[in-house]
Symmetry: C2
Subunit: 344 residues, 2 copies
DNA sequence: TGGGCGCAAGTAAACGTTTACCTTCCTGCC
DNA sequence: GGCAGGAAGGTAAACGTTTACTTGCGCCCA
């Protein structure tokens, strides 16, 4: 491997001069500069980033901790982070916690989660990362560790009281989507939420209620039912809600919306005409259903980009004050709200 | 940050002794060893991996180059790699080429691809990775670069003449799946392949023909039609094949199978009874269709694990001889081949 | 003419480790 | 008593950089 020293020898200059050229500092004659660049090229020189980071203390590297890279929304967020890093000439090191792969949907107890996270942070800090991005939805644990960690942490896709976080705006999504249904003429709107303790659902519901209030439509709490994110709960509650006379259903994720669709298809209810249905997440499946499912697209890539930009800003000396940045979702209407003819 | 030196001072020993303890070498009294470990713990010491790698030349780090982390099968492969690395106490650095995000399905010309790849390799080598794992399906370019790169490269999910590669066995999948259909009693089997230049399709077709031959069923080439991986081509060819009297269709991916399903649903053909249909990839959507789609599950995680294990073996001094490791897919039968009642 | 200045280049120390080699000291044996 | 040998620990160089400081030199202006 070519080093700065071998270049210096070949070009008959000192290593300091080579270093200056390679780092774009001035104080070197153009002629010498060209000579050194040529020699470097010739020797196929590549700086040893480890050595550079060791000496200078600056590594231009951040760590990404992902709860589980195989969970459907994670890759897009990471892609956004990668994009922002590329733009800023930063590198990133990924640590994959494999939480879902290891524990399934039942997250491990807090102590285990904490231990796993601690390990990951340890490795990243050993690699001298300047900051950490946490990607996932279980942020409470991160919060506990934030004080112990000597580098700034930013959360993507979850919030944490003491950390800057970038998430999408659930309340606004709930509001917008409800307005959208109201425009369709629906006034009895059923909602199948996630588990009651999910802040996603709480916020979406709040937006829903605010929109109803803003349009002077009464809110009927019996039309809001707590699902468990799974298909069956959508199926089961579809009956309850339809029997209660709703003309539209907002399922808090696409999977439960699928369950609603199952029920309707099995009972001859024409979704898009007799009933409007909208899901959440814009998963692959939403394009495949019959009718195609209207849904809400969270700005995953932008969340990644923004979180990374925010971390880099802090690393650049910007204010560390914790804040929550909320990005807007996009409502994607398809046949399940527009009707079959209209959408084609 | 605590260093080996600060530990040495606090424990009143030399840095060499501390290093010995931290690296588990012997020649240190148990008493001293404990003292040092305690002090290290107390100071919350974390070794500086950059310094370690600089001095020792060993970084225990590999690089992963992924064509695009947002493509549906990539995260699982990377997860497998991460698992293998964790087990072997190796670290990995991810480089995401963002190829599909940037260029869509039309890959960039070879020169551009090469330039992007070269950049990524450069960065990884700068970080002193001991080896590289290439994850993606466009391997010809990697091959060109293999000689220029001073570290071993292993391909996951694609093959390259001069490199060790880990892929799934398309031919076997085609064979097994055809046998499965033959067992159902189908003798006229239609096939909608990918584009003719796709080796995936070529190999699956070969397996298909071999299975027919092995069971003395004549192969009718007019029943094999070249699709383009997209839904519409499945829809279009479904008509052709069904008119030609097939009783089963093997679409070379789930998306095209979806198109077939569209056609059948629109024309009152009972898939699972009048016609058996099987896709490929086990994408999320295959669980959602009506009827649920039978498909083939490629061993993505295992491919990642195996590729990583293979690279680590080479790094450990094992033979560098290029070989192709083929792992078996799993056939997942659902309603589209079993019929609606049987599968429930 | 000479002092001062600024440019170009070089010197050497340092970053946090690892490691080859050296020193001490103790034990045991002839 | 002398000495080999081994255990426990220390010394210092090196890895590939960056960087503060120094040197040398030509030029300008008083």
């Amino acid at each position: 491997m070519a080093t700065i020293r071998s270049i210096a020898e070949r070009a008959n200059v000192s290593i300091a001069t080579v270093s200056k050229v390679l780092n774009g500092k001035n104080g070197v004659k153009e002629e010498t500069r060209q000579l050194i660049l040529n020699v470097a090229q010739e020797l196929n020189y590549r700086p040893n980033l480890n050595a550079r980071s060791l000496k200078s203390g600056r590594a231009y590297t951040i760590g990404i901790i992902a709860e589980d890279i195989t969970v459907f929304n994670t890759p897009d967020i990471i892609d956004g982070i990668a994009l922002a890093c590329d733009r800023a000439n930063y590198h990133y090191i990924l640590a994959n916690l494999r939480l879902f792969k290891r524990f399934g949907h039942h997250m491990p107890d807090e102590a285990t989660h904490m231990a796993i996270l601690k390990d990951a942070i340890s490795v990243l800090l050993s690699r001298q990362v300047a900051g950490i991005l946490y990607v996932g939805s279980h942020s409470h644990v991160v919060n506990c560790l934030a004080e112990l960690t000597e580098v700034p942490i930013v959360c993507a896709y979850c919030t944490s009281p003491s950390l800057t976080s970038v998430i999408y705006d659930d309340e606004k999504a709930g509001y917008d989507l409800t307005e959208c249904l109201l425009r369709h003429g629906d006034t009895r709107i059923g909602m199948i939420t996630g588990p009651v303790e999910s802040p996603h659902s709480t916020n979406r519901s709040r937006g829903h209620m605010r929109a109803l209030y803003a349009h002077s439509v009464p809110y009927d709490p019996t039309l809001t039912l707590p699902g468990d994110w799974e298909r069956d709960s959508g199926f089961a509650y579809a009956k309850t809600l339809i029997d209660a006379g709703v003309t539209a259903i907002f399922a808090h994720n696409d999977i439960m919306a699928l369950g609603v669709l199952d029920y309707c298809n099995a009972n001859g209810i024409d979704v898009g005409k007799d009933l409007r249905l909208i899901g959440f997440d814009n998963r692959d499946i939403s394009l495949v259903t019959r009718p195609r499912l209207s849904t809400v697209l969270p700005p995953l890539n932008e969340i990644g980009q923004t979180a990374a930009a925010e971390l880099l800003r802090i690393l650049d000396g910007g204010s560390q004050e914790a804040k929550v940045i909320q990005l807007s979702c996009k409502i994607i209407e398809r046949e399940s709200t527009l009707g079959t003819e209209a959408a084609l």
